[in-house]
Symmetry: C2
Subunit: 462 residues, 2 copies
């Protein structure tokens, strides 16, 4: 065994104590919200058969899948011809498992495998890491955590309304400013039909999705490059002079681009659906109207979604979208179970973390893990008293430690400082003889001496 | 994309809602106990560089490591000579990462990489899945979860005493009967020295470790087969006529095999250490003496441990040990940082789960996720009332759902039954007109009608 300087694989991270506490803080808020809305937890294995994963994420996704080398002699099925045929030919023979790439495909696989036991509609949430062999960069990791919630087996727009409610509750509980952007596949289709141009529909969405980054000049260039008539591009820009609307029942009924889009059947249906969602939010006493926008240029995941689409941004957070989702018509079709509609969304923990950190929104006390340090003195009688006290403090629910050795006081206090322990309890020979305890609060330097019997009450007061 | 019947990789499992709730119940108790003892959480990446993992788990462990295929053209460095040289030659060129095999090596790697920032002694806990390409069997999975707690940077026997306290607290909180077996490397060494036989020391431990399974005849045969004199084997058996002792300060001071083992230096030191642990437990008011045994035949992990050794069994649980650990002298030596002593232990969640299930010890209400189902009626006014009520019930902290569609009552109640929702809230046209709410408790069939304003108080009472 040779000595080595250890390192982490690129794109992965350790989470030390403070980071885990902050991540658990975010995950706890999301988890409790999901559960209050009746979503039940699901966990799936970290690796799946590659037959489950491949072909579900497009060609680019297939390349980003992490494959797990078969155990034992993984070359046993590889012929010299395979070998000279290159790695694409060899891959399926040396790896039959891959790491989870998202939480949606494993969920679909689970629903199909358990379809006879599941009660529909089925609401599940899932908080687990996923892995992608992407090029690492700021905010983009090879291992990151997703928090998904989906309802399958119902077309009810109540689910869409509840997604808006849950996003509002989570972002409000985190104290983070947000913008929730909404759109509907039917409005995009109506946009395409209104342009009345034979160029391919999806090319419109691809171009529109870039508006944020490239502006109208860029979108126009992109569209004409993809075969749209300059008139169509101009019509689009004129139509979308106002592309975002406050999402209230009143605004939904008002004039503007929406009025023109409602002339098509797709647009009329989509507009009615969004109106129904807004109405249910009103009945629910929704308090986040100011944060929600209908954005006709939002075109994410269009190959997949069939109804409402969601995206959540954090202004000033320095990250992309922290949440997104939408309705899909055919979650489980690839596994031979067509016609199962659903709607779902996902929070990205890592991006939420970065946004909260950038905006300095984490509560200050998340760093406090140990609440009480008991000082360790040399004399056996003081140690016995310390152990007795320690047991009492822990039994009362406090997180507490006895410094493991009778080290110099300075060293024990430095340890408490470094661990940000708020209170140090001292039972030296004098205190022991007097039946007292000294409690020192490190942040202020304040010291108080109390009767041993009053220690727990004193700590609870603090 | 061809249709396919999906399946799970062998040795892996989905955890549905009830199972996740039960696993979280166990993990929650362990986590809260670790935190009350001042252990801080750490999370490390799911894959590590293979240079970090290989050579740490013995030859068998290396074979059980899951390797992650390099991305892109993984064959680019493989020559035809490598290929004809077989898979062992090819492995290091096609995979440079491996899945986490345990939580100890990543912890050691973390300590070394962060040694300049860490305050010693460092107490960390870690709850994460690990992966082993083992042959799956009952209770043995390829993905399973470990819960480790370690203290590094101190020799204090307080850590050993606190491990006993934590095991007792966790097993007591879970309500599961247990036997905690203790031994000490020094007592095993003393045993070997007392036999005064030139056969290799580790062969004694290997044989002794099998006593449970093969009995004394088997151990004698194993020892003589490994070169021990028949007299040494007979001496061993005589010495260990009584091999287990109640672990109290009194029993530690008493006669028997311990007296003979204390004649050697290793035995005297070990015995004094165990005595000190027992004394600290006494001072801590330890209440689990009846569960703790000193077992001179316990010889687990001997290549690794250097002081106390722990193992926890659940009588009648139908599983092997559910927890184990010990003191080690050189956690980080393989990473170029010698002399860092520590002590740690681990709970196996999957085995604890199986034991609790076998003994029927899970609390009954873990299956309840949604506490209240609100019935969905056709009339718009009743839906508005339902949505308002739903928002209030959730704001009060209950987990609640509105059935997503105005389906037949029978269907809505069947859904509540299947999800084990305890209470169904009904606001039909009659109730709406009367300003009342009907609450039905499914377990008893009891129904009560209360004023709308009293609903939350009624639910809280239930």
């Amino acid at each position: 065994m040779s000595l080595q300087k250890p390192s982490l694989p690129r794109g992965t991270r350790d989470f030390g104590p403070g980071q885990v506490a902050r991540r658990q803080y975010i995950i706890g808020i999301i988890r409790r919200t999901f559960e209050r809305y009746g979503f039940a937890p699901l966990e799936t294995p970290s690796f799946e058969n590659l037959s489950t994963l491949t072909g579900k994420y497009g060609e680019e996704g297939d390349q980003l899948l992490y494959r797990v080398l078969n155990s034992g002699d993984f070359l046993s099925d590889v012929t010299p011809e395979d070998f000279s045929g290159g790695y694409r030919k060899v891959t399926p023979k040396v790896a039959d498992k891959g790491l989870r790439y998202d939480l949606t495909v494993p969920f679909a696989r689970y629903v199909v495998m358990n379809r006879h036991q599941l009660t529909l509609p089925f609401r599940r949430y899932q908080v687990q890491p996923v892995w992608r062999a992407d090029r690492p960069s700021k905010g983009r990791y090879r291992e990151f955590t997703q928090c998904d919630a989906d309802v399958v087996g119902t077309d009810s727009l109540l689910c869409e309304a509840e997604i808006v409610l849950m996003i509002h509750e989570v972002m409000t509980a985190l104290g983070v400013p947000y913008v929730l952007k909404l759109n509907h596949r039917g409005l995009l289709r109506a946009l395409y039909q209104t342009l009345n141009d034979p160029a391919p529909e999806t090319d419109l969405y691809v171009a529109l999705d870039k508006l944020d980054k490239i502006g109208w000049d860029g979108v126009t260039q992109e569209l004409t490059g993809r075969g749209f008539q300059p008139e169509a591009a101009a019509h689009l820009q004129a139509l979308l002079t106002q592309a975002t609307f406050t999402f209230t029942p009143q605004a939904m009924a008002a004039e503007g681009a929406l009025r023109e889009l409602r002339q098509t059947e797709a647009g009329a249906t989509a507009s009615a659906e969004l109106g129904a969602v807004a109405e249910m939010l009103t009945d629910s006493g929704f308090g986040g109207w100011a944060n929600v926008q209908l954005d006709l240029t939002l075109a994410r995941g269009l190959s997949y979604y069939t109804g409402c689409i969601f995206e959540v941004l954090v202004p000033g957070g320095g990250v992309g979208s922290v949440s997104g989702g939408g309705r899909y018509a055919n979650l489980t079709e690839a596994f031979g179970m067509p016609g199962l509609s659903g709607v779902g969304f996902s929070f990205g923990i890592d991006r939420l973390y970065d946004a909260l950190e950038a905006l300095n929104l984490f509560p200050a006390d998340l760093d406090t893990l140990t609440q009480v340090l008991v000082v360790h003195f040399e004399e056996p009688a003081t140690r016995a008293a310390a152990l007795r006290t320690l047991a009492q403090v822990r039994a009362a629910g406090f997180s507490a430690e006895l410094y493991p050795e009778p080290a110099k006081l300075k060293k024990q206090f430095a340890y408490a400082d470094a661990k940000r322990v708020p209170h140090v309890v001292i039972i030296g020979p004098d205190e022991l003889a007097a039946g007292t305890v000294k409690v020192k609060t490190l942040a202020t330097g304040a010291e108080q001496t109390v009767a041993q019997a009053d220690l727990l009450a004193t700590l609870k007061e603090m």
